[in-house]
């Protein structure tokens, strides 16, 4: 008796199961390709490596300017650099920008810079804060290797929290994936 009841249950359940309504979730594999599991770890540093780091050491002149005018003048010479999606590698076309900045910073030691790393909105909040920090660190690393004193360079990440362009287009995202250099006295 017990067994027949059990079988009845199973058959009714299967009947119900068979005509279950459309499920609210879909397998992730239908939406995106699965990666091979045996993928070898790539060195963590690889993504962050600059294209071609300039090795040249630059002469340091001794000049000091601590006026506000210097900061303003500095800001005028600072230019944002941009990143590819989910990358903290310096782009080759930004290397001249950073080198120019390094040349100038190395001769004007009164200027202190805070490098702000930013991301676009197509990422999650916490990971973008980490990524923004790495973007700022990448520029700092480049400048230090180009002869700028590490003491005069600070880093801060804003993640995706303060976009420069509030739009939701490829163009806006490209502008938001940036390092911004802020001069401080």
């Amino acid at each position: 008796m017990k067994k027949s009841l059990f079988l009845l249950f199973v058959s009714i359940i299967l009947l119900f199961y068979g005509c279950a309504s459309k499920q609210a979730s879909v397998p992730l594999s239908e939406r995106i390709a699965r990666q091979p599991e045996q993928q070898a770890p790539v060195g963590a540093g690889v993504k962050g490596k600059e294209g071609a780091i300039g090795e040249e050491e630059l002469m340091r002149a001794e000049r000091e300017k601590q006026q506000k005018a210097a900061v303003d003048a500095a800001s005028a010479r600072l230019q944002d650099i941009y990143f590819d999606f989910d990358s903290y590698a310096i782009r080759p076309d930004d290397i001249p920008v950073l080198k120019k900045m390094a040349d100038w910073l190395a001769t004007d030691q009164a200027v202190k810079l805070v490098i702000e790393g930013h991301c676009d909105e197509r990422g999650t909040t916490e990971y973008n804060l980490a990524l923004g920090q790495k973007r700022a660190e990448a520029a700092k690393d480049f400048l230090v290797k180009s002869g700028v004193s590490a003491k005069s360079l600070g880093t801060v990440s804003y993640g995706k929290e303060t976009p420069v362009d509030a739009g939701h287009t490829e163009d806006a995202w490209a502008k938001n994936r940036r390092d911004h250099f802020a001069a401080q006295q």
């Binding site: 397998p27 995106i32 963590a44 909040t125 916490e126 920090q133």
Partner: protein, 424 residues
């Protein structure tokens, strides 16, 4: 395979609610289930009618995702006025409306007190499932209604509802934000911080004593822990670099990521002794630590294989395994307190979707419907997921069942709202 069969059996048994020991009408762990139709006619009252009370109960039951609430327009006045006594209830008429459960209640307000006497009937045979009496001060009537809703959900699903829960979240504009707490139904948002700054990743200790968050009030993303009762700072990490992604390992210990220079570190800090230990240190990015309910495993995000992916590490042995192999952007993991699922965000073509997978990385499923979704968090019972969702410009908080059904937008302050968590 045997696991699958036992799961199906369980679902079937509970659907039919057989046996005296099984009062469960609905199994909510199946991929799909039939909702129970419940009627909540306006409650009887000795003083002036208070339709908002039965309305709130109806909204709670609807929001739970387990019920179809019979519309008031279906009930004629004779049915509404039939009274509370079981002998006077016309169960056959309720049945003819398709009603399976009937909740009747009497509201009494006197001597500066509020009481609710509630009865839940099974309309199929007129049996009384429970009778409860709640008392409170008149201003607390909402709390009483949420408790009644949770009790009805317990009776029907075998587990208490979440309608008495409160939600922790960040609200404000881009540069001026604070941490808030409010009832799940959006009532009574209250500020917990006074930062007016960029604030991210709030979390409250399991005993409700401490609030942790990352704020820019000192110019960079520092992690702060305050005692909620006094608003006193008990712990702060002001090191250079980014400190973010707090998760409580126990009532006193918080884990978070610190990113600086070439390395990232996940710390466990006792906020009372201020003692800080390193759980993990690696080149590249580490973020968003979260822990298995038994505390033996840590799930986190790392870019050690290229894009961000989700990894699990055994805290005792240090053995680390990658869980996510879907595309190349998987972040913000959250371990279910039940231990059966990990929720996370996966970047698919054109969207960031809330997904769930088993703790071994298998059976990954997409639950959200496009847009930029972030910060999934399970309810303490593991049946619901809170998350934030950006559709177009506006970001708001949403609630859904762990299988992606019953998606609801929650509204609290009218401003941008992000990073929700259930308040312990």
């Amino acid at each position: 395979m045997s696991r699958f069969i036992s799961f199906v059996l369980f679902a079937g048994l509970t659907l039919f609610a057989v046996g005296a020991e099984s009062k469960v009408y609905l199994d909510v762990y199946g991929q799909s289930y039939k909702k129970i139709t419940i009627a909540v006619p306006p409650f009887a009252s000795e003083e002036k009618p208070r339709p908002e009370i039965s309305d709130l109960l109806s909204r709670d039951l609807d929001m739970s995702g387990f019920f179809v609430v019979a519309p008031r327009s279906l009930m004629d006045n004779g049915l509404v006025g039939e009274g509370m006594d079981k002998r006077n209830i016309k169960f056959d008429q309720w049945r003819s409306l398709g009603v399976e459960l009937l909740c009747k209640a009497l509201v009494q307000e006197k001597d500066n007190g509020f009481s609710l006497e509630a009865y839940l009937y099974d309309a199929s045979d007129g049996s009384l499932l429970f009778a409860k009496r709640y008392r409170a001060t008149p201003s607390e009537w909402r709390r009483i209604v949420h408790r009644l809703a949770d009790e009805i959900i317990l009776t029907v699903t075998g587990e208490k509802g979440i309608m008495s829960s409160r939600v922790l979240f960040v609200a404000g504009d881009r540069r001026h934000r604070d941490v808030y707490v409010a009832d799940l139904d959006g009532y009574g948002p209250r500020k917990l911080t006074d930062q007016r700054q960029i604030v991210v990743s709030p979390s409250v200790s399991p005993d409700g004593k401490y609030l942790a968050f990352t704020s820019y009030k000192e110019g960079r993303p520092n992690l702060y822990v305050v005692e909620l009762a006094t608003n006193r700072e008990v712990y702060a990490d002001r090191q250079d670099g980014t400190k973010v992604g707090s998760s409580w390992m126990n009532a006193k210990t918080i884990a978070y990521a610190h990113i600086l220079g070439k390395v990232s570190t996940i710390y466990a800090a006792n906020v009372e002794t201020k003692q800080r230990t390193v759980l993990m240190k690696k080149e590249g990015i580490l973020s968003s630590p979260t822990f298995s309910p038994d505390g033996t495993k840590m799930v986190f995000v790392s870019d050690m294989h290229g894009g961000p992916n989700i990894f699990i590490t055994d805290l005792a042995t240090g053995e680390t395994k990658r869980l996510s192999y879907f595309g190349n952007y998987n972040t913000e993991p959250a371990y279910s307190p039940k231990g059966d699922l990990i929720a996370f965000v996966s970047k698919t073509e054109g969207a960031l979707e809330i997904c769930v997978m088993r703790p071994d990385g298998s059976n990954a499923r997409v639950l959200s419907d496009g847009g930029i979704n972030d910060s999934p968090q399970f309810s303490p019972c593991g049946r619901y997921i809170l998350y934030s969702s950006q559709m177009g410009k506006k970001t708001s908080i949403r609630l859904m069942l762990h299988n992606g059904e019953n998606k609801r937008e929650l509204k609290f302050t009218g401003n941008e709202e992000t990073q929700p968590k259930f308040m312990p």
